[in-house]
Amino acid sequence: MSKVLGLALGILAAIGGFVDIGDLVFNVSAGATFGYELMWVIPIGVVGIIVYSEMCGRVAAVSGKAVFDAIRERVGFKAGLGALVSSEVVNLMTLAAEVGGVAIALQLLSGLPYRWLIVLAIVALLVVIWVTSFEWLERIFGYGGLCMLVFAVAAIKLGPSWTDVGKGFIPHIAGDSKLLYGYFIIGLLGAALTPYEVYFYSSGGIEDQWSPKDIGLNRANAIIGYGLGGFLSLALMVVGAALFLSRGISPEHLGTIALGAEVPLGQIGLLLALVGILFAVGGASIDTVFSGAYNLAQFCGWEWGRYRHARGAPRFALTWIVLLVLAMGIVLTGVDPVVLTEYAVIFSVVALPLTYIPILLVANDRAYMGRYGNGRLANVLGLLYLVVIVIVALSAVPLMILTNVGQN
């Protein structure tokens, strides 16, 4: 039974994290701007997050240490503090973007005023997290997020040219708008390689008391969960390309994305899309806020964990509550969640090496990992992605500036 639950953790983490507001915005936008030309980036992102997650999961299962425990121990206090501060800043931006997304989805479903829905969304998240057990949280948001599969149906129904889609999988550089193309590559990879996902996943593994015998489950989780998320990202890009590109529509609202399901599938399509977005982005908010609390608590050595209950881990509980309230404050200033999303994704990519490199070191460290350290495949992939991540991190801000945040 716990193996099935273990898989549900993976699915929640994947759907919530892999199809969060960043993926929604960037994948549909990429399709609406470059058609199918960027399809090849998605599998690269999927394999990347699988590699990163699997390593973190394995570190958790073997050493009993979550990401920020391991980072602080391995690279020391100063570097660890740098990694923590940058992670928490990006985390809060992401959380605000996700919460904003939840409020928008609620508005499109109910017609109630946006500002009230922001407060409602935060209160609902606070109550749901406080009251619901981890298992039920995973179930509700994981399976609710599966409504996103409507975009796969929509993608097929829109009847794209499958040869063009196929050609999109061959890596190539666009003819024109090279800078914008580069910006989208960064954005798509950044949206795929969400670090909060990895922190949540590894801490969740410790909460579930993984041991070395769970390594296989860890791998299955990572591959199936993120594979599913990648498949949904492909569907989103196809929808963007098949529906919006030819009509000259550049998606700038969450509602536009939902329209992508309404046009081919009618009211049912739209409702499933909105519900799917609500649960996917809502689930992502939960992953994100917990990840922020996990990181701080682990770095400081506090008691932490959902399973300890608020009484057992008071500072941990206060942290996620405060983070939600701060996020609410940010969204209430009126900043557009879609714009905030783009900034959050780009900055998270810049900060990514700060946590990836220590984890790669720990995963190779025999003192931590015993005989479960990185094998040859894990290291080849790990190093390959290290190169990718560093290149992406270095080019992110220049490209953002040069393309004026994707407006060109």
């Binding site: 998606p251 700038e252 009211q267 801000v397």
Partner: protein, 127 residues
């Protein structure tokens, strides 16, 4: 990283300056995009495929966006050569906003939606 963060905010903020040809082209295509998306939404409403809340709220989102453009383009400084074009675009944006307002006010009327769709398609040169 700190320098990068500050740099981005400074540069991104610079966009709110004088309207030049580049900005005008960008704003034009955004306005066309709004028009065509509005047309797509109206198309669905005309066929009864759109729930009322969604149609109303999404039309409002698009209206607010075009209304903001109308304000900005009618007030911002422009380089002299393109001043007329910019003010023309401001009028376009205002018409767009007014048309979308109709859809927002009648989110379940198929006839209003059909007429809105026609107007928007023409405005935005949509396919």
């Amino acid at each position: 990283m700190c320098a990068g963060v500050c740099g981005v905010f400074v540069v991104a903020g610079c966009n709110g300056g004088t309207v030049d040809r580049h900005a005008l082209t960008n704003d034009s295509s955004t306005l066309d995009s709004i028009a065509c998306e509005g047309a797509l939404l109206a198309h669905d409403v005309a066929r009864g495929r759109s729930p009322v809340f969604f149609a109303r709220e999404q039309a409002e989102e698009l209206r607010i966006q075009s209304s903001n453009f109308a304000d900005a383009l009618s007030r911002r400084k422009t380089i002299p050569a393109i001043k007329d074009q910019v003010r023309q675009k401001a009028k376009y944006a205002a018409t767009l906003a007014a048309t979308l307002q109709q859809l927002h006010n009648h989110p379940s009327s198929r006839s209003v939606a059909a007429s809105v769709e026609r107007k928007l398609k023409k405005l935005g040169n949509c396919s």
